[in-house]
């Protein structure tokens, strides 16, 4: 299946978007679709060159709607599938991200976020899509979203996103920002043998419409096309067998709830954080590239004798509620740092306000990352 | 030998559809007086003697309710 994989093993000085493309190939992606958009274009540009050599195919589609649809189609054809875009593209994709959720389709979407709303500023990064990837399609659902802070993690988390997508049959997002996508840094790509890869469970036979192809909290095996399984896939409400059902309230309930439970019941295995707040009175909570400012500010504060710690959400969705609660219960103050006006803040506040004070700090200038000195000044003010 | 086989439970009725009667060159179909499970009146089988097994009723029936054995489905409408 992945013999043709060509992992670019070695130490590189590499752009985040290029590292992402290397991750796509290392993960064994078979199909990528995309439409040009700043600041995400370099990912697809690199794949256009490298993916065919690695045995995959790609399609530059007529728009982002087509990109996500094509990727879902290829996933049902049995390939590990991928698309990459920025906020405006995510906005266009939303309806069909809902289809991927409803049909339990493994799919990786990288969002190299840019400043918005609307066309905004293409080249300036901002974490503006944090809520829209989780809540932007209509109806009710859960997805998985990872937040890289460096080009190295653009590689690591892209591979991880494919593994999560394949393991749980869900769309998984990598929430990069323009800053991380365009920045170059040291990226170490391990030997192919050291990269753990997950492949979806595939249905091995049985009668169609009596097989449990869908809605299993323990993740149903996927009846991919082309194997004579006579699979029925519909984005409309369906039962465990894939049969459309628009009349039975119990089926509707399970159609919504089971995919949600599938993720939430596995959240302990999915959610990753970095906690460094033992004995801290104030905990800085952040994600993505802002975490690097947060850590630096915390180190500076500690050098002044201030008891400051950090919590970094490597996973944004499913929301690390327990981990945030634990931080809140051990500290006197939570300060949330985001490169936006507070998209994750309400979720963090909901888990911490019962235990401590909670505040929010955006960057001095939206679209820029918090200067550690600016965070430190705020820390001093809070801890005075 | 029976040429036309009806599957009356699949039929959506001579009143609402009636395509079989329209496309039969011999106008052999008439409505039955007996409703099917869905409340439609399927056609009665045509007079076998007069049926030419042209296959029109079969290929025009939108509900797969008619089969014609030895039907000349390759024939022409015109």
């Amino acid at each position: 299946m992945s013999e043709a994989r060509r992992v670019n093993t070695g130490t590189h000085f590499m752009m985040g978007n290029q590292a992402c493309a290397e991750g796509v190939i290392a993960a064994g992606c078979g199909f990528a679709a995309g439409y040009p958009i700043t600041p995400a274009s370099e990912v697809f540009n690199a794949l256009a060159k490298q993916l065919p050599k690695a045995g995959g195919t790609l399609l530059q589609t007529e728009d982002e709607i087509s990109a996500v649809c094509t990727a879902v189609g290829a996933s049902w054809a049995g390939l590990k599938s991928f698309t990459v875009t920025s906020g405006p593209g995510i906005s266009l994709m939303q309806e069909n991200i809902g289809l991927a959720v409803a049909t339990e389709t493994p799919l990786v979407i990288v969002d190299v976020q840019r400043l918005g709303p609307s066309t905004g500023v293409p080249s300036i990064g901002m974490a503006g899509d944090m809520v829209q990837v989780a809540r932007g399609s209509h109806g009710d659902y859960q997805i998985i979203a990872l937040c890289p802070e460096s080009p190295q993690e653009m590689f690591d988390m892209t591979v991880q996103a494919f593994n999560l997508a394949e393991e749980y049959r869900v769309p998984v997002f990598v929430m990069a920002e323009g800053f991380v996508g365009h920045m170059r840094e040291r990226v170490v790509i391990p030997d192919e043998s050291e990269i753990r890869l997950v492949y979806r469970k595939i249905t091995q036979g049985g009668e169609p419409l009596t097989r449990r192809d869908f809605l299993d909290p323990e993740v149903a095996s996927m009846p991919v096309f082309g194997r004579g399984l006579k699979t029925h896939v519909t984005s409309s409400c369906h039962d465990e067998y894939g049969m459309r059902n628009l009349s039975d309230p119990d089926v509707m309930h399970r159609y919504i709830m089971t995919p949600i439970q599938k993720i939430l019941s596995k959240r302990d295995r999915i959610v990753e954080i970095e906690a460094d707040y033992e004995g801290a009175k104030l905990v800085l909570i952040s994600y993505g590239v802002v975490s690097r400012a947060s850590r630096q500010a915390a180190a500076m504060a500690r050098a002044e004798g201030l008891k400051v710690g950090t919590l970094r959400l490597k996973t944004a969705w499913p929301f690390p509620d327990k981990e945030v609660r634990a931080a809140a219960e051990s500290a006197d103050f939570i300060l949330v740092l985001e490169n936006n006006t507070g998209q994750m803040y309400p979720y963090i506040k909901a888990e911490s306000a019962h235990a401590c004070k909670v505040g929010f700090l955006g960057p001095q200038v939206l679209g820029q990352i918090h200067d550690p000195q600016y965070i430190l000044a705020k820390i001093r003010e809070i801890m005075k | 030998m029976q040429k036309v086989i009806l599957f009356p439970q699949s039929c959506k009725g001579m009143e609402d559809c009636g395509i079989c009667a329209f496309v039969c060159p011999r106008s052999l179909f008439v409505a039955s007086e007996e409703m099917n499970e869905s409340g439609y009146l399927p056609p009665l089988p045509p007079d076998e003697e007069k049926c030419t097994a042209c296959g029109n009723c079969m290929i025009y029936c939108p509900d797969f309710a008619i089969a014609v054995e030895g039907g000349a489905v390759d024939g022409s409408e015109e």
């Binding site: 690695a54 589609t61 054809a77 169609p208 | 939108p62 409408e77």
Partner: protein
Amino acid sequence: MSEKTHPLRKYMRPQVKKTTFCPGCGAGIITQALLRAIDELGLTMDDFVFVSGIGCSAWIPSPLLNADTLHTTHGRPIAYASGVKMGLPDKHVVVVSGDGDLSAIGGNHLIHAARRNIDMTVILVNNGIYGMTGGQTAPTTPYGLTTITSPYGNAEQEFDISALVVAAGGSYVARWTTYHPRQMTKSIKKAIQKKGFAMIEAITQCPMQFGRVSKQGSAVNMLKNYKQNGIRIEKAAKMDPSELQGKIVEGVFVDCDKPELISSVAALQRRTGGKE
């Protein structure tokens, strides 16, 4: 009594007892034309993946056909089908959906799939109206027709979808009404065998919505209209545009061979060393 079954029944899911179409709807005639084409080509359902969108005709393959079927969002089946085909280049990928789905909301995907000349068959079921949502004006609704969203008469011109797809680059394009199911079958066979983008524009009666607003009434009356006003493309070519008012031009609009996307992509992979 031996249980006889319809000869095409074997292509349908045993769990599905009947079609979901209104009485007299032409979607069933098109379904039959499609299945007969598969039957006559000697192919099996395992050679196919069917993709559909939203609308009455999207339910032709889903769940009726006993094959891999993908029922998708409104307007997007060609995009989904493109991904399926790229993943399963050896399968016949067939899109079945309506004129609203494929030419209104999904028009961009239709023209670009034709331009790419990706190997797939699109059966575009054109009933000239939005049937499922209650009889609204479609891009294919005739000028002047009064519908629920054009209560004072349709002020817009209608799409000539076959001409559009020919212009966009389709390899095989044919239009037939449901009054010509044998020709339709023949064209579907050609389309399935065509290495490239092929579309059958199947003009069909919607007695419930179009029949009502057009005052044509029943399915039979609508078929009569197709019989009277259908005109072959060869004959139409010799006629004055004014003589073609109200006529439905039928036949094969294009049948040609040119580089096809999936083969080009495979060749590219071989050239770069990605495939043996």
